[in-house]
Symmetry: C2
Subunit: 577 residues, 2 copies
């Protein structure tokens, strides 16, 4: 390996920096590349109509011969969601723990992707990928089987924490392998990349177990049906709901496609321990007494089509909310979802349910480390260089400052953006240029075919609607044969505003007359004249800026004659004579 030391280690985040979502990091040394995680993001508000966002992987396509594999930290969508899209471009072997790969497999089936090399590993194990030795380290997070990743490179060790918290009393699993982090720190960590999500929050995130205790308390005193919404992938949460159900002699029905799927996968793979006969078909619920029922459901984010939202809307096929039902929303709204969650809570109350949610009592804990945990991690790892990851700019900045409090010099810390090339030697760290990166928007089956122009138009249309002005002109002379016709959508209720439409037509006619007087025959000139005249008129009248779309359709003299028959043409001649 001695010869290899001539290279710098490159760390290139392709997603997850300056944002929470689509995590993807490239680790490169000479002709070797590995990728840590491969996630998707949900669209920002201004990405109208977009389904999901994936990272731009042009850099990987260009360097595909170097890529040795994708290593995964855990099975959340923002860490595995882009895999099918990436695999359609480059076939790369994938390495991850059992549950993580179970969730990936499901995803590949949906996309009809076969011939993918999925390699199950486990915490504590190492694999060789090119010049790298990759070690998976047991971690705690809001999904089982999460790992951190240590990469031994020719110039030193890189540790990527993945998403983590430090849970001393986790569910169905072991405590994060603090010993391993300590050992790595003792031997020397060249560079650490650590989860910044909860850096704004002081103290220590509560153990997942506290929620189980809360469930026991709530279930103990409850005579009514209990409906709990949570993230499908939070298998430990599901386990604790099941435990409470068993303790208080309730049966459990599962609702919502992703919850059904998550329960199935994690039962098959041994991540969920359910006593025989506990889970019942949702159709059975009607045959049970109220105090024998627990429903575990999706919809904790108030997603419009989710099972809980359907229940709240009285639109769920199997479960109707009844007076006294206790609904527990065991999740916090992801930023941006606050209002949809509020709405669901309001509707549930209106239907007569009682609702418990985090504003009222603690029925959720985060899966991410707070400041004291972040300090513990950095203190164990004692990295020479530090790259805060998994966060918006403010999180990264606050995490960098926290590292400085622990003695990691500012110069040894890099706050990077997606695409930045971070070059590391045994003595230095710094940015050196950037590679292509960014958001690839997925809309339906289209990947990347909706860009800024389309989004700008969607925004304009959404705020003001549009007015279409259609004219038919004669090709040879440019003379107007029909129109202007006006069609509008999303602008105004036409039937109640006929005057405005009629006035608009005369404004257009005036503009056309002016064009005619000026002998202007250029389509673009005429279209611009229509646009300018109409938009000034509309703005002056009602202070709005609809998109105005003049369409001129040319009629060919020949076309016309072709469709007309001779008798009509002679009639026309007669008209003239």
């Amino acid at each position: 390996m001695a010869t290899e030391k001539k290279h710098k280690l490159k760390v290139i985040p392709l997603g997850g920096l300056g944002e929470i979502g689509k995590n993807m990091t490239v680790i490169e040394y000479g002709s070797n590349i590995i990728i840590i995680d491969c996630g998707m993001a949900f669209p920002e508000d201004e990405m109208l109509g977009i389904d999901i966002v994936i990272p731009d992987i042009s850099y990987l396509i260009k360097n595909k011969d170097k890529v040795k594999g994708i290593v995964l930290t855990h099975g959340h969508e923002d860490h595995i969601g882009s895999i099918p899209y990436i695999l359609k471009k480059i076939n790369i072997p994938i390495y991850g723990t059992k549950l993580t790969l179970g969730l990936v497999e499901n995803k590949l089936l949906e996309h009809k992707l076969e011939q993918v090399s999925l390699n199950v590993t486990e915490p504590g194990k190492s694999i060789e990928l090119g010049c790298f030795k990759v070690t998976f380290i047991r971690s705690n997070h809001s999904i089982p089987d999460a790992v951190a990743i240590a990469v031994d490179t020719p110039i030193g060790t890189l540790v990527h924490t993945g998403d983590f918290k430090i849970d001393f009393t986790p569910i169905n699993g072991d405590v994060i392998d603090l010993d391993k982090f300590a050992e790595l720190g003792r031997k020397g960590v060249l560079v650490a990349m650590s989860d910044s999500t909860n850096v704004e929050r002081a103290g220590h995130t509560d153990s997942e177990r506290t929620i189980g205790e809360k469930f026991m308390e709530i279930f103990k005193d409850c005579d009514s049906r209990i409906i709990v919404a949570s993230f499908a992938s939070n298998i430990h949460r599901v386990q604790q709901i099941i435990n409470a159900a068993v303790a208080y002699n309730r049966k459990v029905a599962i609702s919502g496609k992703s919850m059904i799927n998550a329960v199935k996968v994690s039962q098959e793979l041994g991540y969920l321990n359910v006593p025989e006969g506990t889970i019942v078909n949702i159709n059975e619920v009607r045959n049970l007494k109220n105090n024998e029922v627990v429903v575990i459901t999706t919809g904790s984010q108030g997603e419009p089509m989710s099972a809980l939202t359907r229940m709240a809307n009285n639109d769920h096929k199997k479960i109707q909310i009844q007076q006294g039902d206790l609904v527990i929303i065991s999740a916090n709204p992801i930023p941006g979802n606050e209002k949809t969650v509020s709405r669901v809570i309001n509707m549930l109350y209106e239907k007569g349910a009682d609702v418990l949610y985090d504003a009222l009592t603690q029925v959720h804990v985060s899966g991410h480390a707070r400041r004291e945990e972040l300090k513990l991690m950095l203190t164990l790892l004692k990295p020479k260089f530090f790259i805060p990851v998994h966060g918006e700019y403010r999180h990264l900045m606050l995490h960098a400052k926290l590292a400085q409090e622990l003695g990691i010099p500012e110069d040894n810390t890099v706050i990077a953006k997606n695409g930045d090339v971070i070059e590391i030697t045994s003595k230095s760290i710094g940015k050196n240029g950037a590679v292509t990166s960014g958001n690839i928007l997925v809309d339906g089956l289209g990947v990347g075919d909706v860009g800024n122009i389309v989004l700008r138009d969607r925004k304009l249309l959404s705020e003001n609607g549009l007015i279409i002005v259609v004219l038919a002109t004669e090709r040879s002379t440019g003379k107007i044969l029909a129109g202007p016709e006006i069609v509008s959508r999303g602008f105004i209720y036409v039937r109640e505003n006929i005057d405005l439409i009629e006035e608009s037509k005369s404004v257009i006619k005036t503009a056309l007359n002016k064009c005619s007087e000026a002998n202007a025959k250029e389509w673009n000139y005429i279209k611009m004249a229509i646009k300018d005249a109409l938009s000034s008129f509309i703005y002056e009248k009602i202070k709005r800026n609809p998109m105005i779309l003049p369409i001129i359709i040319e009629v060919n003299n020949n076309d016309f004659s072709k469709y007309s028959d001779l008798s009509e043409l002679s009639n026309m001649l007669e008209d003239f004579e």
Copy 2:
């Protein structure tokens, strides 16, 4: 007044129930109506392109002869924002405290409304309006001069708390008049209406003064420029920023139209105490040392056009963020604004500023009472009947339950919706029908001309864009003279998807041929055929549902001939022969 007792007291909320915003309550007895507050709301997410929302006042227009006046609790937009729109329909005298009416006056000027009867009152004073005696009671809120309102009606006293908190150490003002509430309670309150905003939160909202102390602490240790964003109407907050500035020898510049306006009005009316020479023109900032500068600005909600957002974007004419600037966001995001606020914080950090906001340290307190304060209010008032107001359904429900804990029976509590007619006698309370109510959407100068159909179209357009298909046909025969032409907006980037557009054209042509074979000439039939064929094709190809808008423009034979000259026509005849 004895004869009057034959009527029931009616309370009709026209806004503010089931929502936070556009507060407006009708109090009616026989031929007497008064209105408490007259607010606007911000549009919900699905109200695309809408500027503001005002209550439907059809009921008041129908009963305008009964209306004696509008009484205002305070000067926030959700309590006064609809006044100009209402006054354009019915001219009603308005009663409120000095600052409240000062803010109303400004609003009337903007709308060029004159001839309005504005009547300044003060806490402790009463006025007669028809059969009602209205007493204004000093309160505490996040704007000075807030009052609660007691209405003596022929059948008993109604108390409306307005928005309130109980601040034992308020700024530049007096503590809420607890004694008066106690006196009312002692004499007997028939019905209480109380602010439900913070009912989810345990304990007691901190005093406004705690924030002043925090400012002093922050200013004390700061050598850099300080920029504080807050709500313009939070004059007490502004006062405390000024106090801290004076204490640490800083000058204060004001930025943002509404902040400049609020400072001006409240200085003129004596609500802001500013030592001579403290406030400087924003142009002066460049001449001051960093530790001599405080900028008070709008933009605490991350509003795209606000002063703080402009600073963060490097787009503010007077203030450029420089390395080390301390920005304090002294406000909480209103639900729905979390992401825009986050973005501004990220951008400020990127520009090199340090940012303090509520997630990091307490730089804001609410203006609304928490549970213990709500209990105190109800305990003092001891109302027979209770109507929780100012909240979404869950707030109203939780407030009703809180009242029940205090011994107000469930049957004596009404959870109402906007428009509900609540009938009250000295012995009973209950709903009896409903009047017209709802959201009137204001878009530009248009009031109510954007309804559900327009909004539905805006939503469709925003998510999928549209495809316009234009055909020119001959009027007499229905034959196609030109087209189909395809124009799209917000759908796909056409230049990179020419194949799809060409295929779409042939799909349309096939559909048109089928129409022709079936001898179908009905426009609507043809349009539907185009729509169906194209939307199936597009969905199958890329799983999207753009709006499809077929437009057929008819060309008259006569029109055509009129524009053609004889030589052309004879050419055409030759072509045929």
